[in-house]
Structure formats: C-alpha cells, structure tokens
Symmetry: C2
Subunit: 287 residues, 2 copies
C-alpha cells in the first residue's frame, strides 16, 4: 500500500546542523512538490484533502523547517535564513529539481528559496501570501491582530477565523477542514514551542518592511508561478496576491469567491485540480 497523509512515517535528514523532520509520499514520478507551512504550523496543519489530492500525480514532501515542532534547531529571525535552511533540506534529500508550494509565511520562504536556488526550482505555487513590503505586511492587519489575540472555546477554532470567512458556507467548510486535519492520530507533530511565534513574527516584520521599489525583486523569479488566494483574505490582504501576479514575469492568479486566507481548504477539490493542471501543463497550456 502506498503511503498517504495519514500513514506516511515521519523521517529525518541532517543538513546545515539541523535534523529536519519530513514526510514523503505520493506517486514517485516526475518532480516532487515541497510544501512550506504557515505561521506556527507543523506538518499536521496541512489538509489531507490537498496533500493526498496532489499526491495522486506526484510525490509530495512535507517538512518542519528549523526549530519547528519535530525538527531541531531554532527558527531564524529572517525569511532569508528560513529559505537557506529549506534549500539545505531539499539538497540533503538529494533532489535536483523540485516544485515549491508555500502558504502564508511559507509563501515568503518559497519566494526566497527560488531567489537563492533558481536552478533547484521548476515551478512555484504561492497560496495566501504576498510580496516583500506588501499592503499591511510589516505590522500585520488589524483583523489579524484581533483574530490571533482572541481566545477560543477550542484552540483549533482559531483556524476557523484565520482561514475562513464569517459566512455560513465558509464556516461549514472550515468545520470539515478541522475534522480532516485531525484525522491522523499516530505519529503526529507536537505543537511548536514558545520561541517559534516571536521568531516568525520578527521575520515577517522584516520581510514586510517598506522599501524603495519593493516589487522589483519579483522580476528575478522567472519560474512559472501560480498565485492562489481567497476573495477576502484579512490576514494577508488579497490585493497582495494581485500585486504578486502583476509583478512576477510569469504568473497566473486564481482568486476564489467568499473565502479567506485558507481558500485552498475551503475548495480543496478545485484547488487540487487547478494546481495539478498548472504543474502538469505544457508550456503553452500552463499559462
């Protein structure tokens, strides 16, 4: 039986002085897709509907970056250092070419990976994320501050506010998501320690800080890129996805209706089809 999101064992590889925890599963064919996770998230915060869906046609690699959950080391205080660690991890696996997916802060890391190791990256998928110095990205949004500052009946309910809109349909999709990401019961990642959030926040603040001509760096990302977000992302405003698409040389944008920071968890079937089309498409078809 091939492994799935639920059954793939956590493995370890050493690189750059860090013992990286990872899981690898899916169709062992073509270019693997490496997932970069959001703020304070672990391998177990990915939605199996998304990872298993994408694993139907390719190998997927989940990992904890340095200092996160089952990986050793400390979370660096810059996105650049996070990306350097991620590049070391991918190289330690002996992978000569990968597709890279990044969600939220993982999308910042994915951009930096591509800039630091352009020959390593074939195609890029940026989900719920934004460019350096994007709209409200240095300080975070007021909505985000409120959502992350609130207390919840159950800790997981935080994600209903972070990833979904207040609409009935979106919240119902959110409750389905919460069930799915708790399905794996054995060999789960433990929650991150208290040093993770401050270090990640420091990285986000530097990445988001104002700069002159802030989007010029995007011209260096020549890889075909798919940018995906919800219509109403209040954690990293949706307009930042539009800015990414407008400034990347070869990017397609997809925005979903009535959805927020976690639109890919609201429409996992559609997301998997869109990403699969993008990753498998010919040069012309991929757009």
């Amino acid at each position: 039986m091939p492994h799935t999101h639920q059954t793939a064992p956590t493995q370890f590889v050493e690189a750059n002085g860090i013992r990286f925890a990872y899981r690898r599963f899916g169709k062992p064919d073509g270019v693997p897709l490496v997932f970069n996770q959001h703020f304070t998230g672990t391998m177990d915060h990915w939605d199996p509907a998304m990872t298993d869906g994408l694993a139907m046609e390719r190998e997927v690699v989940l990992f904890d970056n340095a200092g996160v959950s089952s990986s050793s080391g400390e979370v660096p205080t810059s996105v650049e250092q996070m990306a350097a660690n991620a590049v070391s991890f991918v190289k330690a696996l002996g992978l000569p070419k990968v597709d890279v997916l990044g969600f939220s802060i993982g999308g910042f890391v994915a951009q930096e990976i591509t800039l630091q190791a352009p020959d390593l990256v074939r195609r890029l998928v940026l989900v719920g994320t934004g460019p350096r110095s994007g709209d409200s990205m240095a300080t975070g949004t007021p909505e985000g501050a409120k959502i992350f500052g609130a207390t919840y009946a159950e800790p997981d309910h935080l994600w209903l506010s972070v990833f979904f809109t207040p609409s009935q349909a979106s919240q119902a999709a959110g409750r389905e998501f919460l069930k799915r990401f708790r399905l794996r019961t054995k060999d789960r990642d433990h929650e991150v320690n208290d040093r993770v959030a401050p270090a990640q926040r420091a990285s986000i603040a530097k990445w988001g800080a104002p700069r002159e001509r802030p989007y010029d760096y995007l011209k260096a990302i020549q890889q075909p890129t798919l940018v995906v977000n919800g219509s109403n992302d209040v954690i990293i405003y949706t307009v930042n996805s539009y800015i990414l698409q407008q400034n990347l040389p070869n990017a397609q944008l997809i925005l979903y209706p009535d959805s927020a920071h976690g639109s890919q968890y609201q429409y996992p079937g559609l997301f998997v089809r869109h990403v699969s089309m993008f990753l498998s498409g010919t040069r012309v078809e991929r757009a």
Copy 2:
C-alpha cells in the same frame, strides 16, 4: 456529422422587431452558453479553438446583436438596450435558462442581461471586461486610443495589438489566432457598417461614466461568475477584472501571465478547461 464553428449555418430568429442572425452548435445537453461579442465584432471574430472547445460539453450559441453585421436593426446607444435585445433574442429561441459569456463590451452586456433577467441566467463568464465606472472606462485608455487609431498593413493586424502583448510569445499566439478565425470561408458574417462603432462607443461612454458607489450594482448579480483576463490588458485595464471579482458576491478570478485583452485566444486550451470546470462543477467545486 455534428456542426462546428466552421460549418454551423447562420440561422435567423425574429424578436423585438429585429431579425437576429445566430449559429448554434455543440453537444445538445444541459444549459447552452450564449456568447456576447466585443466592439465591432461579429460571429466570425470568435476563436474556433474556444467555441469548438467549449462545444465539446455543451451547446454554444453565437449571435449578432441588433444592428451588427447579419442582424437587422440599429445598434442602440446604451448597454441596457443592447442587453434588452439580447434577452429578447434568447427568449425567442425558447431557451428557459442559459449560461452567458461576454467579452469586452460583450461583458458589459452580459452583466446587464443578468440584471434584467436574473431567472434566465444560470452562470456568467466575464472575459476582458470591467464594471460600470471602472478604471479609465468612460473615455477608454490612452493605449487603446493609440491602438485603434493606428493603421495596419492588414486590417486583421489590429487584433494583434488589441488582444496580445508585444512579447514574442504573445505575438506568435496572436498570429495563430488570426489563422484560426479566418478558417471559416463560407457563409461568413460581413464586416459591420459605419454606424456600429459610434453607437457602441456612446454605449461604452455611458457605462463607464463616473457614479456614486459605482460597484454596488454588482451585489445584485448572485450567479456564480468566472472573471478572466490577461495580466496586461491595456484596452480595459486588468484591475477592472480584480474590481469585478472583489465586488461580485460569488466570483472566481483567473488572470493569465504575459497576456492582454484577448488572453482567452492566447491560451485557448487552458481557457476552455478552466471555463468547462467552472460551468460543469458542483456548487462546492465550482467555487
């Protein structure tokens, strides 16, 4: 043999005192898709790669609205009247429910059709278009004025500038498009008369004129909507597609890279797959 874009005969139906020219072909199953054409365009300005591609899974209906080419009557000087004529045409065909696609000014008409006859329209596809009072839509763009004001070695070359970016890849796609839309040789529509462009321009100016809270009307369009454009539309600026998506209650946005007003002609295979997924999807999958 079922009819295709090349072989479908031009038929006529009378409604609202107008004799409408139309062509109808494709899989006679489910909800037909009615196409609304761009400025000065006729049924023969559609790309067969797009119409035949979409006709694989549904019936498609091309038509000349009032006063355009093979249809009788005069082009009205408002989008609202154009939409009223289009609604009469659809009803004259006896169709109780249709999907509506509109390109450029045809996208304005498609929005107005939906507002005037909400029960007639199931889903909406808006391509290379914008909202009432959108960015630079009253006067048109300076780039558009230059492109439409220039002279070309061959008249068809106008469309290389209107629909495609100056990049080598986009221009090459444009030349392929020009071949395809000249493939039909028999029973072609004649070019529009001299009264068409001024009347359509007057309609565009009224539609684009500044208003208070201009995008509020979009809240009345409850139909699932797919908005598609190129990354660099200089005829109706790309940001207008973003504005549509942000203000429609249930809209998905797709923007393609290195493409302009006619992005669907640059990536016809991908466009057909995206639109087919959208039109055929379940409520949840459709997003």
